[in-house]
Symmetry: D2
Subunit: 280 residues, 4 copies
């Protein structure tokens, strides 16, 4: 039997002895711990552990052992680091799509982009350069639900692990979001202070901000905007026009989205209580 490397993800109510119990079971199975990251949220009494294991695996037996010896409130997941499958949704802006296509191509993103869905045809040509199918699903003359039904049919055919909104500029309905709980990832610009309403870069320019940021997050139907995965900022100053601020914002958007996907596809992200634990 071959020696493999897998990741064991454990999320549990916290109690004394959890690390000892889990690592002891791994030890009994002859598995070597390559890397172990652990975090306890003391406020919510939640325990998180990510364990990279090497050895000869009997997956079912290992999971059974873990589940028997630990309380029922513990969830284990054993995953292999195979490349994840991603469907990307876009509108017209190329920067985030372009970054993901390129990084996936030569392996800097541990994921295959299996399809791109656009509500405009603007990015069809870019997508097809990379031999990836592009699906044009218009929203014109359709109710929001009808258009989303069309999108869901396309997605269903690809069985993706994650759906990435790479500057998809339409709001998704709660029922769409519910279909893919903690599996939709979005990117958007962020400001200090925040600007509400139209033309945020024009507001940021008018206000003379010195920093432009971006936030990648899971989309859910909770308050706010869903659990944050990654954030970064870049500097601007009075010499930047609103358009130049937008360009700086696009550069940080694409790098934050890439970073978030690198974390997610390498099984480094837990979600709970509208926040994330990211073992990076």
């Amino acid at each position: 039997m071959p020696i493999e490397r897998k990741v064991l993800l454990t999320q549990s109510e916290d109690h004394t002895g959890l690390i000892a119990q889990i690592t002891h079971i791994c030890f009994k199975h002859g598995l070597n711990i390559i890397k172990n990251d652990e975090f306890v949220d003391r406020e919510h009494h939640q325990f998180f552990m990510r364990t990279e294991l090497e050895g000869v695996f009997n997956d079912q037996l290992l999971l059974d052992d873990l589940n028997q010896s630990l309380s029922k409130k513990t969830a284990h997941r054993l995953t292999t680091a195979t490349r994840k499958r991603i469907v990307i949704m876009v509108t017209k802006e190329p920067h985030c799509l372009g970054e993901l296509l390129m990084k996936s191509l030569y392996g800097a993103l541990n994921a295959d982009i299996v399809a791109v869905i656009g509500n405009h045809t603007t990015l069809e040509e870019l997508t097809e350069k990379f031999d990836i199918p592009f699906h044009y699903i218009t929203h014109e003359n359709l109710s929001r639900e009808q258009q989303e039904d069309n999108i869901q049919q396309i997605i269903a055919g690809y069985k993706p692990d994650y759906i990435v909104l790479a500057k998809y500029m339409r709001i998704l309905t709660p029922s769409f979001v519910e279909q893919y709980n903690n599996r939709i990832i979005n990117i958007h610009h962020s400001f200090l202070p925040a600007f509400i309403g139209a033309r945020p870069y024009h507001q940021a320019y008018a206000r003379g901000v010195k920093i432009i940021g971006a936030t990648a997050h899971f989309v859910n139907n909770d308050l706010d905007e869903g659990p944050i995965i990654s954030q970064d900022v870049t500097r601007v100053d009075h010499r930047h026009t609103a358009e130049e601020m937008a360009q700086a914002g696009r550069q940080v958007e694409e790098s934050v989205l890439l970073h978030a996907l690198q974390q997610v596809t390498n099984e480094k992200v837990f979600v709970y209580e509208n926040r994330t634990v990211v073992f990076d």
Copy 2:
């Protein structure tokens, strides 16, 4: 007559030939331009120039020449790089005050702290280590106006160039702010996204933010919070407790406030239309 170095600040409605006219007059006065920074806000047709000059100055003659040859809508200011006078207002937190006291002491801040005013006595001992007078002006049993009157009397005695709110935790009345137009500088934490209401670091923790920021700005009575001078951020993650996030926030607050004051005291900041031009 001695060779001196001075800074000429010009703010004007923009029109063709301004740089040529101003630099020509400086040239006629035998002044050498050490460093020239210039910016035009094309949207508001505003022109800003900061000119470091070296030579033998006849201040009045130079300003007269500038005012005669240029339109009346132009404001010139000729300043020497003498150390500015600063009064600091505090409540209980030591980090910003401590940073400014230390940097002023050995010259990393081009300003003398002439007095510290506190609405608590907590920071009296720290202030007096540096042989600087500390004035305890309580707000207890006083109306907001009465307390501010007491503060203004103290400030008046020191004739400061700027008033720095180094974590002064009371809101100032519009009439107080009006007394010191674009001369009050404040520092506060900033988040992506912004959090409104009490205990912002607990909200930031609950939301799992990955970045904590700080903003230094002038205080005025306009909408929002006044023109931004400087901003910066620092990284946090799920392992930071709310208190550790607050500590990270304090470190970035003190460095942003210092940076803003370095820019302001070196005459590098223009204010207009609720925004700043910072020639750094």
Copy 3:
């Protein structure tokens, strides 16, 4: 006659009145100054100015006026912001080439990539996705001079403004470099402290560095490595393997090279005395 926007670049021995003279001549020609950046190196008595002008241009008359009224030691260059022509040289690593291809495609880089030259065929397929000619110029069984002659013939046919070494892993001869003075741009990793010799990332790992950097610079035959255009760093820690450090290094390499080219192709970079002035 149409209203155009052009950039006037002036490099000169410094003397009093230069800004006044130049801006006065622009004023006489009815040209409006959109943006003016100026720098004086007081140590070397060198003056640099970048002036964005708008109006109706008579190029020759303007340059004649400038040359007549200013000393002979002044060099002026008037350029339009047309897209520059770039030839990229590569070996096997895709990250820098991929970044430039993508950014050029949708306009985030103000340059057309007119050809890619590789001493291996590894990146031919990537290049041709973007409908750009790829020239395979082997170094095998050839002297360095013979291979470079072959490269120069290819380059000559494209008349590029700049040659970009996007991880081209062979050292160029002084005579090749001389052909393209201050027109060859290179990118390489940088460390604190520096590591000399083979496998630098393994040395960096062994040394436990916390920061990985990259430097983009012009290639010349002077001491060291030529004038630095742009630098940046990224954080690593003990958990990064040498390979993961190299991957972090690649990400910062591609973004630094892009940034350097954005500055160069927008006419924001002066070179002198083995250093640069970058008006960003």
Copy 4:
């Protein structure tokens, strides 16, 4: 018996089951794991674990249990998070000393500065503002060994945990360094590329670097400069004079030194093979 919080540090040759064994013993002792960080250097087969424990401790019994059940090649250390004792050595520059004095004063550094030793009297007044003894130990008319003997006598009286070189500008002898293995911490500027020889900031200016860095490291007698604890950089450009680059360098030096000491005094740093593991 009171509930306490302590840190267990384990360094060991790596073998399967280590985490299980250690955490199991902690579990048997009724100790709750608050926070656990673990790292395996697969190349050197070294295992590192930092375990924050809470409960009623019997230190000797716990360490005995750990030592008995684990191999002899394992070193355990159980420490309480009491404030560490630090002696600071200085010459004339105030910035690093000032930062540590201020941060120690109000608790942002988990250490008491028990004494400052200077080979000049320049910083005596600053030190004594904080009611800390300053010892002037001249190097004039003394051999290096004689001066160091005088220093060691002073140090011995204070029994410090760490000795911090806060811009102490003399080279220490190997025999001095040996006395305090992995207990001397130094800060110095760093450049990309590195500059060897005198006046590094003038070289950096001449070379037009865009980034200035600082490195905090342990001092030992190995090759290079000892294990790196923390590094950071700041941006500069052509407008910075050599003196302004030095000032930017000083700001990053003081913040990197502070950060390194925060990590060290909170027992987050392991040293081995001329590198560090920093659990931050």
